[in-house]
Symmetry: C3
Subunit: 172 residues, 3 copies
Amino acid sequence: MTSTILDQLRQMEAKLATLETKLKASEEKIEDQKTKEKPKVAFSVAADEGGNYGPFDADKTMRYNKKITNIGDAYNMSTGVFEAPVDGVYYFIFFFRAEGKHPSGLILCKNDNPVIMSDDGQASYDPADTGGNATVLELKKGDEVHMRLPKGNHVWASERHTTFSGFLVSQN
Amino acid sequence: MTSTILDQLRQMEAKLATLETKLKASEEKIEDQKTKEKPKVAFSVAADEGGNYGPFDADKTMRYNKKITNIGDAYNMSTGVFEAPVDGVYYFIFFFRAEGKHPSGLILCKNDNPVIMSDDGQASYDPADTGGNATVLELKKGDEVHMRLPKGNHVWASERHTTFSGFLVSQN
Amino acid sequence: MTSTILDQLRQMEAKLATLETKLKASEEKIEDQKTKEKPKVAFSVAADEGGNYGPFDADKTMRYNKKITNIGDAYNMSTGVFEAPVDGVYYFIFFFRAEGKHPSGLILCKNDNPVIMSDDGQASYDPADTGGNATVLELKKGDEVHMRLPKGNHVWASERHTTFSGFLVSQN
């Protein structure tokens, strides 16, 4: 009788050990999924200089000084540079309004290299006009994105016409 | 012999109880992650009035009457108002086409306050033109977003040129 | 004494079996959440033909030949067609630059049917201008999205002004 009981005990010990191992694996998977939740990175900023901004004698990094949203503080309001906080796929979009007295345009740069741009020729009749563009970029942590105002160009910086927005689409 | 068996039984009971507690914790974490899955909120609508819409004597809420997509029904087709179904970060974008006979422009409003805008001056020569803008907004459940057509302005509302789209980027 | 031990053993066997069943259910839920992680689908392409592209005698599918990003390879660089790899909600945006010598415009098509468009009338004075539009579409796996250049229209295809981008917002 006792030997049968001991057999049963041994079998149950083995089952318990197996369950323990499986549960540990389960717990690790749960933690793994938790850490994979993408961080919150999203910004939307506007340039407000009270009217026309530019033209200048040299290229200039746009500093959008009105914060609409800046979750994760990846956009630096004082330098105008967005720095990727994690490896991932990011979406960026910009719009500007411009009058026709001078050429107008903006260039989106990744680590100082132009990626996409939008411009608007000089026009003698001087109406208001909208430019803009959007892109999806795969960035490494620390990669920088900013908007460049090329020398000789201007934009209208008032009433939140001229904006720059972006967010993390998926983490790598 | 029997006392050894009883000892083993007690140890196994204790192990079982521990496993039971850990499993319950695991199950709760899994449920927790499930409820954190962001709800599906995404819309894209177009204004179709058969041609020019406006100008009017007063500001008007745009009612985009052609549904392209409205997952979650957060955009109310009859009032023109988007209502945030959950706290979170939302992305919005609008475009419009306009002819030059009258000023044209649209303002994106959060709870009736202007956030971003786009306009196009009146032009004597009357060509077609595109305006638009985009933003990322952190909204509380129940916050409202709509597009305002300012008095005296018009847009071209036909053939799905003039659109308003948005989606939930991440839930808070 | 032995009968008490046997009773305890039977109770523990039952508890173990219950735990085993619950753990299996847990593991399945974890796997289920894993497979629900949305696949990575995001692209951004630009048209570069060295200058003006078009007008042509017939409608043409735009082939954006400069790859900025194409995660998941859902955008076919040689045909110009995006094919949805999974059922889900997708976001698309396009911009173009055009000069005024000819009409300019682009139409976003889902399975060859126009969804949204943007155009710019011919203008004698010939300035540069920006057009664009964006939409959110619910697509079935295999649905196709492409940009159509209507016959008689042209766009400026150089320096990454004229772009087409999109990504998966949420999987169905």
